[in-house]
């Protein structure tokens, strides 16, 4: 249905049991040596995508993308409307929808994003166009016995009291 290009070059492909590189590109990803699918600029997709390799979108896509353990990239020409569930997500194009990432979300300055982001970490380049809600996974301290009646501690950087004081008018 769409232009599916394997990024695996022969030298990057899965090796046979004999330890030799096979002539044709691998179609089954091997741990640590995964391929990627590219949805080209002239391609439009409506529907959901699930799978087990990385995805780059340079075309138009409407639907849910579920590649929980993989990388999803919306390239600078990409236009996506829908949800992205992935490990790491990079947005350089347009996305209207939500991102759920178990790893990192990267928004570049070319991005035009509107939606919610839930991730472990995020980096945003200055000048990106965003209307977003951002929720980062909190690193909780492991405490074997929670104190009864005591508010749960969250790991927030402390606010130095010295800077909170000041000459006010």
């Amino acid at each position: 249905m769409f232009d599916r290009k394997k990024a695996l070059k022969p030298e990057e492909g899965a090796e046979s049991a004999m330890g030799k590189t096979e002539d044709k590109p691998a179609t089954v990803p091997v741990a640590g040596r995964e391929g990627k699918t590219i949805i080209g600029e002239q391609i439009t997709i409506e529907g959901d995508i699930r799978g087990h390799e990385n995805l780059v979108i340079e075309g138009a896509m409407k639907g849910k993308i579920a590649l929980e353990k993989h990388q999803v990239t919306v390239g600078s020409k990409g236009r996506v409307e829908g949800e992205i569930h992935a490990d790491n997500v990079t947005i350089s194009g347009q996305l209207v929808g939500n991102i759920m990432a178990s790893g990192k979300v990267k928004i570049t300055k070319e991005a035009d994003f509107s939606g919610e982001i839930k991730a472990k970490s995020i980096s945003v380049e200055d000048g990106a166009y965003l209307k977003a809600v951002i929720e980062l996974e909190k690193e909780t301290k492991k405490q074997p016995v929670p104190a009864i009646g005591k508010a749960r501690e969250e790991t927030k950087p402390p606010i130095p009291p010295s800077v909170a004081a000041g000459k006010a008018s």
């Binding site: 945003v124 200055d126 965003l130 809600v133 951002i134 980062l136 927030k156 800077v163 000041g166 000459k167």
Partner: protein
């Protein structure tokens, strides 16, 4: 983005921002809205301090509206934030780029988005500040605000006296303000319960 060296106003350590966050920190599950230009440093700073960070660059929306000869109100008219939704809103110096009627209109919208007893932080420039290029501030870990020159060529500049700023926020009480040597004044407002 330019190098901060030589950009006016110069960087400074904010007194009001830590107070703002300290007060918000006393509540649970806060919703915080940053209306400033999108700067990676600010998103990194606030996203680690508040559970739900809302970001919406009203400056670029205003700049875009003016560039397309649309009224400035278009910049916020389409924003669909619910009423009384936010515990804290960081406006930066938005009012400095609106005339009095527009500033009053935006202040009313901000009032609607703010929960009763919610906080709003605002910056304004001293009346005699130089009319240089637009400058945003990137928040550093020690609450140092470092200037970043951003190109918003269509944003006008309206300097106001302190009392004029207060007049624009009638439903809010001024908790604290602080003026710095670089001409920046920071304000912390709280929406009074009867303001809604």
């Amino acid at each position: 983005m330019d190098d901060p060296a030589g950009i006016e106003p110069s960087g400074y350590i904010s007194k009001i921002l830590p107070l703002f966050l300290e007060r918000l920190d006393q509540q649970r599950g806060i919703r915080f809205l940053d209306l400033g230009p999108i700067l990676g440093a600010n998103i990194a700073f606030f996203s680690r301090r508040v559970p739900r960070l809302f970001v919406c660059d009203l400056f670029s929306r205003l700049n875009r509206a003016r560039e397309q000869n649309r009224p400035p109100e278009d910049a916020w008219r389409t924003l669909d934030y619910p009423q009384a939704h936010f515990d804290g809103i960081l406006m930066w110096d938005l009012l400095d780029h609106l005339d009095t009627d527009q500033a009053r209109a935006l202040a009313a919208v901000i009032q609607g988005w703010t929960r009763p007893r919610g906080l709003v932080m605002l910056l304004s420039r001293d009346l005699h500040s130089p009319q240089g290029p637009f400058v945003a501030f990137a928040v550093q870990e020690d609450f140092q605000l470092e200037p970043r020159a951003i190109s918003f060529p269509h944003l006008p500049v309206h300097r106001r006296q302190n009392r004029e700023i207060l007049d624009l926020m009638p439903a809010f009480s001024s908790l604290k303000s602080f003026i710095y040597r670089n001409g920046i004044r920071e304000h912390l407002f709280r929406l009074e319960a009867e303001g809604i």
